[in-house]
Symmetry: C2
Subunit: 149 residues, 2 copies
Amino acid sequence: MTKLVQITQPLREWMDVFMHRSMRGWAQFAKSTGLSMPQLSILMQLHYKGACGLSEISERFDVSAAAASQLADKLVQSGHIERTEDPNDRRAKLLRLSPSGEELVNDGVEERYRWMEDLSTGLSADDRAKVLEALTILTRAAQQLNDKK
Amino acid sequence: MTKLVQITQPLREWMDVFMHRSMRGWAQFAKSTGLSMPQLSILMQLHYKGACGLSEISERFDVSAAAASQLADKLVQSGHIERTEDPNDRRAKLLRLSPSGEELVNDGVEERYRWMEDLSTGLSADDRAKVLEALTILTRAAQQLNDKK
DNA sequence: GCATAAAGTTAAGCGCGCTTAACTAAAAAG
DNA sequence: CTTTTTAGTTAAGCGCGCTTAACTTTATGC
């Protein structure tokens, strides 16, 4: 237990800093692009998980099919996504990022990365190596935790 | 430059995992409490930065004074914050978390922490020590970066 | 002391995200 | 081959967050 107590404090401090930073950052980015958070979330989803149908959007974001359809509509109209027919199922539509949508998400993600990269470039080579190793450990642990559940 | 290239990849992977996780988590938490994200953000603010006036809310969230006032209204009505007079300036109001508001934010924060603590408890003592050290380094670096700007 | 600035409130109005309900069309099940 | 399920759309309606505009009250600057 003493080990856990020891690690708890730094863990929490880091999470506070990082969560604050990234949430603020995304909110600002959304505002700067004129997108709402739900719209931006859909773009992010398509970026990270690839093209999918509307029902998948509706499920992952826990909203009605109608809501998903309407959100997608706006994103099509603003040119950020493309809605094509699914060749395997003529009921379904395939949503995918348009080139401009892809660029937009990339810009947002890059902006977010930049802060952390600035952080790491200010470190000594030694510290940077430690951070690198720790993040690799954490990322792997997160994947394992995800797989289990 | 090779050092930077080396660290870039793990940094980005970790950020992807962590940002995803925390954003999803907060969105779900907001939904479960019946609060909107703007409302929750104000509660978080009061939690981390302490009581403040409406003008400060309006400034930090980049919304009009009217918007801030109305949001505060709802939070008062739902019992999450208290709006009292500022003894030093009779124009100003002081917003602070009510006990129930404090509890709500704490619950949300705890929930967020838990994931990361679960992550770290799955690690070997050795890895945990490395993570601990790295996060301490990063937190300090973040504070320095903040101070500079 | 008087004009100006600052803090907050209230009201009208707009777009958005969301829901339910009613619908079309295609796939799956029997 | 008919019934049921699944994917998606459209329309009506609601609450919310936000803005501008008009206003009150208190503090500040000259």
